[in-house]
Symmetry: D3
Subunit: 247 residues, 6 copies
């Protein structure tokens, strides 16, 4: 009985989460509408880029399989909101589970790469694929991990301009090569990375993260996945009492 | 006791499988060596492209976690040999599990796309990424599913030259756009596909397969994953008593 | 006499401004140094991307020609700091004067394009040229003019994903074509813009802004011009008591 | 009289050859039609890529000039069928003669390059031009000359992955540069090849073969030249009692 | 009174100049019309590329602000005709003034680069942007400064083929990198130039000229700016009694 | 006897021709040397781009096979000098014969395309391949055939800017597509050309010329073939008492 009630509570919370997650899109809609109407703009003109969001609407969390709802609620607990990637992919439970299992295997594992370095790879390669979701969401996470409010915008625009140690520069050069022309990766690339102290397992980590986000970027791009508003400002103020990111 | 013996048997078989799986590489080495030595070629000259294979050697199956070994033995049972993707990824069990869970969620699910059509997407997009493993291995599977010994080479070289129905042509146009410039996918692309009878779920399938193999191609390319010799010839003879493909 | 004193005061202020303007770079240096040192990173490793900043050091404002110092002080008055573009270009007074005369002629003029729309063109085209300075500095200005904390990151990553009216989307499509392949601009492009209400003068404005920032982006990229830290966060909080931008 | 009869015989044979040569296209048509009709495919939907074949139909051999018919019959004698390139180009006798004279001058001449190496260049560069005819037809010839059933698919997908001696890798690097960006060929390229034992005449051979197939690939691509079915499987079985290739 | 008369005279001359400047376009129109009409060409078919010229017609010089008219008359005095860039940009006086101030600051200044070398940069980079106006007009100026009737066509087609000293080759390599991918300019580029004797100010000159013509090329391309006929032949005859170029 | 003497005369003339043909290169060398030596240029610095000319020196005409020498003398008779393509290719007699047979089959044949139109295709596509020899030599021929001193520079820089009838614009659009991405040519391209009055044979002509110069451009680029000085100025003066071009 207590359990039934708890579940009912959870379902209600899930509905609120879903509503909150959808809110940014609504607000964006309103903001677009509120944009100063110049004389040439017809009022009824549809906003571009809106199709995909309508096509794959975010589901009601209460209707999702238990394990997926729980994962989403945990993410919400941690971040203070539900990152849209959870809601967008939830309509395909088997793909959701595989996606996050892969994500966690690469991003949460132990290894020589710091968590901030993993996020650097995500931001730099996602920018090459022009993926708004990953650049904004992982840019936020990178700012927090690296305790640097500038690094994400630098990597997203031109990682060569960031004041990085040569080792991290070599890491990003390689990750970007895997992202853009993996067929030309050769032994010389491996030697260069080894000269910076990366061993074969570290190189696998770098390449696999770039490869996984090649998948993630394409999913976000075709499906109209939009970053939650909260990500844009997160981690920009060094004292940063900001909520910690889920994923 | 019986169980212990069975496990011992299985472990022995696994060693034989691993040896067999490594064999093609050895043979390739010998073949390269046997290539007519022209007068300019110094005998000791190292073959190019060999580094990656050495760097990430294929593991001994007997040493793998049970679930992974079982999956590999099942694949061997079905195909008559162990496709190298299983062995190459097995060194990273968590990534292995996520990879094949994702693969199966996209390639084995029910839906409007036939299995042959899914493999068409794999071959056409993997060719754009110059991925030898995926073009050769999935080319073999496509020949078998489609019962057409020519289709894979056509899609791998120029899918526009294959005599495909307009619906499949539109499917490949879209998959290739997701593979190469997903950031420019827009509502017009969706409308075009809908005009050929694809609904939103079918479009997700096409895009997600192209996205998943964007990951897979990069993994194969950087890690030196080489297709098993058996794949090259498979399905080229229409009567095709060839073994059915695992993956 | 009073004038002499006033000039002395101004010169002192100018020194403070110059010191303040250089500060971000210093801090960036410290931050980079403070980055969690992973075990592979040698302490003495030089940071990449630092060369250009050293090569063309920012001048002491007190040594600049009067008209240039005054323009810089006016900019500081307005923005609360001296945007680095003023200091970087000041070493070439004739080029400085021509650059800002051109900038003002395009960005401050009356016309059908709003100031926010002009900045949209700057951000979207500068992102195509991977220009860190212009993306960050003009992104800040755009957020303030548009009263939208999200728009700049959207345009910088993929302008097609922003929820823009079709008119602004057409404006950016054209600006990006001018930025990337101006030789293929043809009558059809003009017709498309006219269908959205732009006349020949508006089209000139769009193209000329894209062309001017083709210049600006290349200057910033080769000379190591880095955006002031203040730009990164500016305009991200809607109430925005932020200082108004000088350029 | 005997001669008249012999000529009549030859003309009859020529008709049979032409019919046989056209057969693959017909079969391809049937195969396309036989493809599992998924529910969305309308029956009357025209196959894509069929236009060019219809536009430049293969001629009746009996109607061709004597020297061209004889060359075609000789090719048929050698290969067991008439490669479609002979029939497609035969409609332009002067171009036919020049094309094959050029081909023979480059591919049949004596020199340091083996015949297999010449075919390697053809396959690798034709793949860069996405030329289905040349990749499939010359891939077959390469397999036979090299006595290697795998080499053609490797070079067609990513020649960097083939286990080639460094000398052949350098040869293909150069050939691909000539194919893709000949304007940037410089002395350094020549020095690299000389370091692998190629002299100026060998370098001419490599470059000229890449240049000739730049022509051939474009002819095949625009004219709808399709490889004969026989080429796809040829040389894939090492014992290879396969017919020897003409051209 | 005398002054009034002088002004009237000047205005008349200005009208003649404007008429003369428009003449080439008229003649080009006639020439296009006179082109051998092949049987397929419908008489009424509009010539392509004519739209932009019509859209931004060249102004009547007499109506321009005094300083602009004077600059134009000075240019005419020097060159014997009014280069179209003056007339095309004159419709925007503020932009005209900034453009030519910038041009003069870069092209007429003292420095280690000769005037011919500056024009080399213009021709080589404008060719990369396919800018007809700048290639033809600055090609003429380059021929005259360099006293070489061949150099401009060589740089416009492939600067690597011109017989240049290594120092000038390095200068053009860098200028072209700034023109095409300025975001990848790094310290190594600067070192290379320094090895050829260029100091930091020379490097700024090279880069700034490439950057300024990135602007100029885009203006010319979108606005339909066509080179005056006189430029095409200028400087092609070594004795060269040709008029000196105004810009 | 008279014949012997005639042959001796011919051989002497041939030597003079060869010397004359080599002259431009010599002069170019001197001109490069004479270039204003700026202070940074070391005197002994080798000119770039000179290697290929040295590597494949032009042969002594007297030593060539009779048919090739005769073809060269005929070309000289017609043009007043020997175009370098004849001398560069003469070192490979079989390739020489095939090359010019192919050239003549495409460029001298009867058909709907005028000779000027054929040369337009050569100039526009050779510019895309940055082929100095073909752009300059065929640019000269085009100026003469078209009786237009401007057309060649326009097509070489940006064919979209030339005032061409729509039919010729469509012809060049197609030729450039064949040159750059022949694998994407499809039925729609053919329909477009047919709408401008081109039939299937005309389309073959356009495509085959673009394809043949894909070969020719690559030969010229790798072999260091330089245009004779005479070509640069030829046909630039409308009255044009210029010698008619050979090839």
């Amino acid at each position: 009985m207590a359990k039934t009630k708890a579940l009912r509570e959870e379902a209600k919370q899930a509905k609120r989460v879903a509503a909150a997650a959808r809110a940014p899109a609504d607000k964006a809609g309103k903001r677009a509408k509120a944009t100063k109407q110049t004389k040439q703009t017809k009022a009824a003109e549809p906003a571009s880029g809106a199709g995909a969001a309508v096509r794959y609407p975010l589901p009601d969390i209460a209707t999702l399989p238990d394990d997926i709802r729980e994962r989403i609620l945990a993410a919400q607990e941690k971040a203070g909101f539900v990152p849209n990637v959870f809601l967008k992919l939830a309509r395909r439970p088997a793909e959701f589970r595989a996606f996050f299992a892969y994500h966690d295997a690469l991003m949460l594992k132990e290894g020589a790469l710091t968590k901030a370095e993993r996020e650097m790879i995500v931001v730099a390669t996602s920018a090459l694929n022009n993926c708004l979701y990953c650049v904004v969401a992982h840019g936020a996470i990178l700012r927090i991990y690296q305790k640097d409010p500038l690094i994400a915008d630098q990597l997203a625009t031109n990682y060569r301009k960031a004041a990085l140690p040569a080792r991290q520069r070599a890491m990003l050069d390689f990750a970007c090569k895997v992202a853009v022309s993996s067929a030309t990766v050769d032994d010389e690339d491996h030697r260069l990375l080894q000269a910076h102290g990366f061993d074969a397992e570290d190189i696998w980590d770098i390449a696999a993260i770039a490869a996984f986000f090649a998948l993630s970027n394409r999913l976000a791009n075709f499906s109209g996945m939009m970053p939650n508003e909260a990500f844009y400002a997160m981690g920009r103020n060094p004292p940063a009492q900001a909520p910690r990111p889920a994923r």
